[in-house]
Symmetry: none
Subunit: 207 residues, 4 copies
DNA sequence: AATGAATGAGCCTTCATTCAT
DNA sequence: CATGAATGAAGGCTCATTCAT
């Protein structure tokens, strides 16, 4: 009996996952406002109605997708670097981890950008927004910790971490839109350069 | 005869401009995906159909709006700073100009983001894309020139300018999303800090 | 110019009227909850979207239909009877007028009944409801006046008028549902009988 | 074997009854058009599919519910009054019984109305219609008998009973709509008044 | 007998776009 | 040029119903 329930639950989760995958593919193809429930369903091999057995809303799909992305981001950053690294090396390892995560997976990046635009008016409850923000902060925390290990106090570490994140995001944006190629530059190289000069700057700090 | 044609052309351009103004107001009010042709027409005092005498497409409106934005951006940056400033001061003045332009006018920023994500299918032809890119580069050129005046060669100046642009865009993105507030930071302060450390770094360069 | 506007307005009103007619036919055929915008449009020879140029939403159609019905009812009752009739005769004329109106036009009756059921949850604002009620009271007022002319005070006249209306409505309900045929009776005969005994009762009153 | 079958039948009937109860509760809560099969199933502790083991259709549920309503109506009227009452008193008791039944339980009334209007297509077969009509006539028969006891012949008794039923139904309709409140009247008071003047009229009859 | 998955038709509504006038 | 009418495709969503398990 229990085994049966277990199997059913697993199958259900599997199908939900397949639908999320389909949704990601659709959003990549048609843009995030352009992707419709019908299209997602078709991509997943279902009818529109079937989606509603697994997600309450269209927004619920965004939410699940985002949560999943952040989860993987978190795991990726957590796994980066080695145990007994120098703080500066750890910073580079961790920061490169999240940058690489988004650079390699434009779908995830797209979804992240979506937060910027379409989702404000309707969906994305304040609660969910905070929740997602916390997960993002969690994922970036290792960089902050490394910055503190390098001698920054809490405030300064948060500030530098924010600047670091912004820098990376800006580069990813340019990369994603093809602008960076038009500038004749490479996003990853520029990110590395930023990291290097950041470390340098911190190490030259008085005291 | 010719005078008459001239007058007609002027009137037509005027009306087109009024429609663009209306579009901007509508997008301001309803967001960029939320604004409909009908709404824009009504705001401009016309019927939906009339719009099509001036614009081929809805996407064409976005394009025209963005071109106009870039024009204003260009002018804003060009006007910033004074004639005989030290290069470092000029850099700060010019960079702050474009950053401030977008920080103060989120809808212009929105428009830029939208074009990237929503307009793929028909709207954004490769040609238009290049054209817009060139205008953007034009607008950012003063910063690049300033960087060269500070002793960088052409390649390095372009690289630093790209990084600077990316940094600012990343910050604007975070600001726009409200994320930056959740990080407890201020976008403009961070941008200024970046500028200061950039100048410092360049001035400490050997040779 | 003005003539043109006039003609356009007239045409527009005409089309709106045709749509309302179609709506009535559809509601008669499919029931009032069963009638969809699509069906109404098709019946009128349009696409669903076209309806929305003339009515803001589905409820607005109900509202317009009801208002129109009440208007015709009002006119019908007002026109009934002659100027210098005896009060009792006038009562019979006026009452028979509204009864006949509904008896002859089941569509209108159906719509009236609709108020009973489906429309409570959603549409039918309290305001519209009051408005419609007032129109109904207006239409029935001539009977009330006649009752007063027969010697009843205001309260009694209102009470008797309400009872009279209820009696007629009950009969119309039975007629409409075919029940009355199963009872082997005729609605109009029964209504006349009620009127006769009402008059008789009032005339036998002391005082 | 037979005992087992018997037990199974009893259980089945029980569950069917529980589902009908659930349906009634759901209709009470959401209105008769607003209640869905899913909702009814959930209320009864089942899944939507399970309903179809007990009812062929959604309309079949309405039918069963209405049959049950008529059954209860019948019982209510049968139980009203006492054995050796004067015919006039018995008439009043019996009539008040069915009127009170519907006045106190608007959803039963709703159900009756619904069958008439919404169920045309498949649900209400001619046969079922006749069947329901017979049950209704059965329920009203005691009033007819009382009328005959008061001296009316069969035809007149049926006619008066029909009028009485119509009068009550009309009042219930107005009460149900809230119209009667707008008229400033009370349905039960008006029904009692009708009964009183009916009795009076019959007793004053010549012969 | 009951479940849970899925369907398919339908619902109201919005909107860019076309076109005769 | 501008209008007003109309289209047709699409959107999110609901729901009675079927069916394998």
């Amino acid at each position: 009996m229990e085994a049966k329930l277990h199997r059913q639950k697993a199958q259900s989760d599997l199908r939900r996952g397949l639908m999320l995958d389909a949704a990601r593919r659709v959003f990549e193809r048609l843009g995030i406002e352009g992707g419709s429930i019908r299209e997602i369903a078709k991509e997943a091999g279902y009818t529109a109605g079937a989606i509603y057995s697994y997600f309450e809303n269209k927004e619920a799909i965004y939410g699940a997708l985002l949560a999943e992305t952040l989860e993987r981001l978190h795991a990726t950053v957590a796994a980066a670097g080695t145990a007994n690294q120098a703080p500066a090396d750890r910073l580079e390892a961790k920061a490169s981890a999240w940058f690489g995560f988004f650079a390699d997976s434009p779908r995830d990046l797209d979804l992240g950008f979506y937060l910027v635009q379409g989702m404000r008016p309707r969906g994305l409850t304040t609660e969910l927004n905070h929740q997602l923000n916390d997960r993002l902060l969690d994922a970036l925390r290792p960089c902050e910790t490394a910055l503190q290990s390098m001698g920054l106090n809490a405030d300064d570490a948060l500030r530098e971490n924010t600047a670091l994140f912004a820098h990376g995001m800006g580069l990813l944006l340019l990369k994603h839109t093809g602008r960076i190629r038009m500038f004749g530059q490479d996003a990853t190289l520029l990110f590395d350069a930023y990291l290097i000069s950041l470390v340098e700057r911190l190490q030259k700090r008085p005291g």
